[in-house]
């Protein structure tokens, strides 16, 4: 590898690889790729390529490697941690022209897809056979399976059915050196290290997934959904604990607070019970007899916890009505606030009441409103920190509240991200959760795949440039240990 060159000089060779229509150099067109779903980070990519085959991806990467030019993979650009933030000195490799579903093998209960395939299209292809693809991020109508693999995306139903990593059987990847490697396939447990497990969630830093074999699940015999309205968050929280303690495993348990309900009402008139301080959506799926028995149990537990209204749905239309408010919640806060930050943190389920109370305190003290919409079943919080970006200093104060919420998650033995990933957004928070040695070990994995450091640099792991000379170096006892929440041995 020689000294890095301006990616612009590679354009003739990139055109030879991807064709004229597969290379974007025009500044206005390049600018449309300047950020992903996290719009406050932006950078115009040096060049954008739109390959159509694995061979083209490999050739582009080999060219980058030969010239020391960094590359950034991008799927649909819906990521919320800036993972697909381009580099002015690099090539953005977009998978949006790799959208073929190569195979739907119902007998083997799997599908083989290209990385740009939209998540929901996998389920659409399987549905006529009575099957579906389980990971269902709220962005499933637009996000790509390749992006899901890179972020290990989950969805409302991952409480029971797991995340992307639990549903990928095989990967074809292009390594940061431009080699095409086939890992796994329709057969599980290929001999050797579980490189599929290591690759999933690697945010584009270990290479590009070019073909993905995903598991398909048989559609359940019955699905029932319950909407329960409670006077306050505490009551809803008690119901969640009671459901878990009873040994019921719903496919989803979602919760919204009064502010989130207000926003959803304003946006989509979801018609949730008025006066609710919290609503809980509980969905059960499985054999009909099991679902019916558990549904009665869940309803009774909600009533006992103080629910003042219960609604149930057992056909798709009714279900959609219940989910409407929840699914629109993020966009809906735009109706009640000019600007907002979506946070993504995790706490142990038992710490939920305490952490929600602390968030409320934070909000009261700072005067910054926080709406809570979250995956209550697995303790994955999505606080929406609301602010008015026309007021000076408001954005900064909101960012402070948002950061303080992450601190709360760490303090309670949780995680700085449950599904949106680290990207650029949280790279500098990594040292709050991991020791320098933990991070060093992660860097070993990265170096094994990418010795030259050209695959999505400065994402996922903290670097001195991003985070200061010695990024958040921790001295003394690890906070998780100090708080008694983790790794006592």
């Amino acid at each position: 590898m020689s000294a890095p060159v301006d990616p612009g000089t590679l354009v003739p060779q990139l055109r030879a690889i991807c064709g004229d229509d597969g290379v974007i150099t025009d500044i206005a067109q390049r600018r449309t790729y300047e950020s992903d779903g996290l719009t406050y980070h932006a950078a115009v990519p040096g060049v954008v390529v739109l390959p159509t085959t694995t061979a083209q991806v490999a050739e582009v990467v080999r060219l980058c490697a030969a010239h020391g030019v960094p590359f950034v993979p991008r799927g649909s650009g819906t990521g919320l941690s800036g993972g697909a933030l381009p580099r002015p000195d690099g090539v953005l490799i977009v998978t949006s022209r790799m959208r073929r579903i190569l195979e739907v093998d119902i007998a083997a209960r799997c599908a083989v897809v290209e990385p740009g395939v939209i998540n929901l299209d996998v389920t659409r292809a399987a549905a006529p056979h009575g099957y579906y693809y389980a990971p269902d991020p709220s962005s499933q109508q637009v996000c790509s399976v390749g992006g899901n693999v890179a972020e290990n995306s989950g969805g409302a139903h991952c409480l029971k059915h797991g995340f992307t990593v639990n549903h990928v059987l095989g990967l074809e990847i292009v390594t940061p050196r431009g080699e095409i490697v086939e890992l796994g396939g329709k057969a599980s447990e290929a001999p050797g290290y579980d490189l599929i497990g290591a690759f999933i969630g690697s945010e584009g830093t270990l290479g590009i997934a070019t073909k993905i074999t995903v598991r398909l699940l048989r559609a359940p015999e019955k699905v029932r959904t319950l909407l329960a309205a409670f006077p306050g968050m505490d009551d809803g929280g008690r119901a969640v604990s009671a459901i878990i303690a009873a040994g019921v495993l719903p496919s989803a348990i979602e919760m919204m607070d009064a502010l989130a309900i207000e926003a959803a009402e304003a946006a989509v008139r979801c018609g949730y019970p008025s006066g609710a301080g919290a609503v809980l959506i509980v969905e059960l799926d499985g054999p009909a007899a099991d679902v019916d028995a558990q549904f009665e149990e869940v309803a009774a537990l909600c009533r006992a916890a103080g629910a003042f209204e219960l609604r149930s749905a057992s056909d798709p239309d009714e279900r959609a009505r219940i989910w409407k408010g929840r699914k629109s919640a993020f966009a809906a806060v735009g109706r009640i606030s000019p600007a907002y930050i979506v946070q993504d943190g995790v706490v142990p389920r038992t710490a939920l009441p305490e952490v929600l109370a602390r968030i409320a305190e934070l909000s009261a003290r700072s005067g910054i409103r926080v709406a809570n919409v979250f995956h209550a079943g697995d303790g994955n919080l999505h606080p929406l920190v609301l602010f008015d970006d026309s007021l000076p200093g408001a954005a900064e104060r909101a960012a402070e509240v948002s950061g303080a919420i992450l601190d709360l998650c760490i303090e309670h033995g949780g995680s700085i991200t449950g599904e949106h990933g680290v990207g650029v957004d949280k790279a500098c928070h990594m040292p709050e959760m991991f020791t320098p040695e933990d991070l060093e070990t992660m860097a070993w994995l990265r170096a094994a795949f990418d010795p030259d450091g050209i695959a999505n640099p400065e994402k996922l792991l903290p670097t001195p440039r991003l985070c200061g000379e010695r990024p958040g170096v921790r001295t003394g006892v690890h906070p998780l240990v100090a708080s008694g929440k983790a790794e006592l041995f």
Binding site: A108, N166, V181, E189, D194, D292, P348, W444, F489
Partner: protein, 430 residues
């Protein structure tokens, strides 16, 4: 035998014991950590370790490895010792680290999470969890296994068909690296995407990337009812039809097993778990998919354990469920030609089964049969997790051809550049 030769030429193969006698170099930790000379029954795949250490806690493991690494000693970890003869024998074993004293269990029942040390037995773990009506859905395929042992060998049982393999239940891990530094990945919550999931790499790595000291796992509630349903057939095509019909049904079996003994009919066995109210109806639905089905609350004989007898040569076959019956037939044809009996059992639902060949079978014949079956099957489908010394001497490569090997070597070279951890036990002599 490309593996062994490749490894010999590898970067760490010539790592020498700079300090000479392991006993002398470990003198400095002697006070804190009980040490003794290795004996015959400490052997790892026939290799007797020079020393056996029983560190009292995880901190002592780190201290021990830091010192032993400084002197270039090779290290193998032992839990309950039930699978020490799996994989290849280590090229050298200066120090065997017994994790038996690392047996603490911390159950966060409200969070459906447990953190347990590597030496904890699966059975002890189960007893603790059962008190709260919870369980770790890891079937004890080899009775007496420690948690560290099943994680290091990546061994999953029947319920994997519904709950996924062991690796899917692991949410955090603490590992002592080759240089004696303790590191953590993952966390204590089920949903977490912060950083690389290094626990996945250690699962099934046979201790070649680090010494696992504790694991955090997600738990499930113990269902209120369970029912076993099974049927027998002598016709492989019928067995295949049943398996596919079961998987295509909406009965949500926790397990779909196949038990294909040396002689006699093929058993297809189903486990249903769930609410008491629904279980009888589900069992009827399952019985309707089979012919001559029987049902009981107790498991049929041999349920959930390896086929054959202790000490048998153990093969592992993985494929997509629709290919399973044909793949087993390919294996049986190869063993029949070689005059060797084979018994098969495992998860038809997940497409992962084990096959047992008697330990005293002619090694040349077994090697020939494995080679013939491998030639007829796609690469990576057939491995030999446990093979005796004579079979290895006959030239058998337990792991066969491994896709993605250069990346695996690159990972090993970063994590353990001097090849100190379980050298040679894993694929291609890693």
């Amino acid at each position: 035998m490309s593996g062994e030769q490749g490894a010999m030429a590898g970067p760490g193969a010539s790592a020498s014991r700079r300090g000479g006698d392991p006993r002398a170099v470990l003198e400095e930790v002697r006070d804190a950590i009980p040490l003794r000379s290795g004996a015959g029954d400490d052997a790892v795949g026939g290799v007797v370790p020079a020393l056996v250490a029983a560190p009292p806690d995880a901190a002592a493991v780190a201290k021990l490895l830091a010192v032993s690494a400084r002197h270039g000693l090779t290290v193998v970890a032992r839990g309950n010792g039930t699978k020490l003869d799996w994989g290849r024998p280590p090229r050298r074993c200066d120090l065997l680290v017994d994790t038996g004293a690392l047996n603490r269990i911390e159950h966060a029942s409200g969070d459906l999470v447990v953190r347990a040390e590597a030496g904890a037995g699966l059975a002890e773990l189960d007893a603790v969890l059962a008190r709260a009506g919870q369980r770790l859905v890891v079937d004890p395929v080899v009775p007496g296994s420690s948690l560290g042992g099943v994680v290091a060998t990546g061994l999953s049982g029947p319920r994997r068909a519904l709950y996924g393999p062991l690796r899917d239940l692991i949410i955090g891990m603490t590992v002592v690296r080759a240089d004696g530094v303790t590191v953590r990945s993952g966390g204590a919550v089920v949903k977490n995407v912060a950083g690389y999931d290094l626990g996945k790499l250690h699962t099934g790595a046979f201790g070649t990337l680090g010494l696992i000291t504790s694991v955090t796992l997600r738990l499930h509630p113990v269902p209120s009812a369970a029912r076993h349903v099974w049927a027998r057939t002598t016709d492989p095509a019928t067995a295949r039809g049943w398996i596919l019909a079961l998987l295509d049904s909406q009965t949500v079996p926790s397990a779909v097993e196949v038990d294909w003994p040396v002689e006699g009919p093929i058993w297809v066995q189903v486990l249903l778990e769930g609410a008491e109210d629904g279980i009888a109806a589900r069992a009827r639905d399952v019985a309707d998919l089979l012919e001559g089905a029987e049902a009981a609350e107790e498991a049929p004989p041999g349920w959930g354990v390896l086929p054959g007898r202790a000490g048998d040569t153990l093969l592992k076959l993985t494929c997509a469920p629709p290919d399973l019956v044909a793949a087993v037939q390919t294996l049986r044809t190869a063993t029949e030609r070689a005059g060797v009996p084979v018994a098969v059992r495992g998860s038809a639902g997940a497409g992962v089964v084990h096959a047992a060949v008697p330990a005293d079978a002619d090694p040349v014949a077994v090697h020939g049969a494995v080679s013939a079956a491998r030639a007829a099957l796609p690469r990576g489908w057939l491995t030999v997790p446990r093979a005796g010394a004579d079979l290895l001497a006959a030239g058998l490569d337990p792991w066969g051809e491994v896709p993605g090997l250069p990346l695996m070597r690159a990972v090993k070279d970063r994590f353990d550049p001097r090849n100190l951890l379980s050298p040679g036990r894993f694929v291609d002599g890693i």
